[in-house]
């Protein structure tokens, strides 16, 4: 008995490992009823909150159609009917993604969605927007048609004048295609997941006091 007590004492004194610290942090900050809620606050009953969901749905279609395009390649998406269809789904899903993302941005801006400890959530959204623009840009450069050549030739001067043309070469199809199908989508997806988890952890921001009173 004494041995067991001594062992418990040693275990309690020992600093927790990183797995234990991570587990405790997740249990404290992200309980399952926050991660997968079945109820939302009454003020979430507005169509403004649907824009974020539409953005995620559009991203899912972008990724799905992008995986199919990457598998079959440029010859297929230019020459076959099904390929052109999947290419169009990819393109129009991106249009929907950006429109919904900007509407989501407007909504969060006017409700000051960064309040009450949500600044990091807002800033990650800003970074997602920036990386998405870069992803779309490299996507235009990866089309393998005259439009992509036109964009690349014009962008080359802009990149050179910005001083980044030597390591971000828009005339290098392999570099642009690699960035478009791997690094940038992984970045967007990872940050979207982080953005979503942070929203779940803290909940949706409460409306601004209609009386206009801001308490310290």
């Amino acid at each position: 008995m004494a041995i067991v007590n001594k062992r418990q004492e040693v275990v309690q004194k020992r600093p927790a490992s990183w797995t234990v610290r991570t587990r405790r942090a997740l249990e404290g900050n992200l309980p399952m009823d926050h991660l997968l809620p079945d109820r939302q606050p009454y003020y979430v009953g507005s169509w403004v909150y649907v824009f974020g969901v539409i953005t995620i749905a559009a991203l899912a279609w972008v990724i799905l159609s992008g995986v199919i395009l990457a598998f079959f390649g440029p010859q297929w998406w230019h020459s076959s009917g099904v390929g052109r269809f999947v290419n169009s789904v990819h393109f129009w899903s991106v249009q929907l993604f950006f429109i919904a993302m900007v509407l989501h941005l407007w909504g969060q801006y006017f409700m000051a969605g960064w309040r009450d400890g949500r600044a990091a959530t807002w800033m990650i959204g800003v970074v997602i927007f920036g990386i998405s623009v870069l992803t779309a840009f490299t996507g235009y450069l990866s089309q393998q048609n005259f439009a992509s050549q036109f964009v690349a030739i014009n962008a080359k001067d802009a990149m050179n004048s910005a001083g980044i043309g030597s390591f971000f070469n828009v005339l290098n199809f392999g570099q642009m295609y690699g960035l478009h199908v791997m690094l940038l989508p992984v970045g967007v997806t990872f940050l979207v997941v982080a953005h979503l988890v942070m929203v779940r952890a803290r909940g949706v921001v409460k409306p601004i006091d209609p009386e206009g009173v801001v308490l310290p």
Binding site: Y42, W47, V48, L103, W106, G203
Partner: protein, 50 residues
Amino acid sequence: MDAPTTYLHWGFILISLPNLIVMGLMIVIFAIALVAPFPHSDKADNGDRE
């Protein structure tokens, strides 16, 4: 399809008609989202999560 689109030009502002239409539609959709009634559920709580 291959013809260049219409551009609108006021002073230093130069914008294509399709882009202007998309921006106008986005503003209209945003305004509708603010005022359109949202179907409510009895399960909504009071929002006291923290």
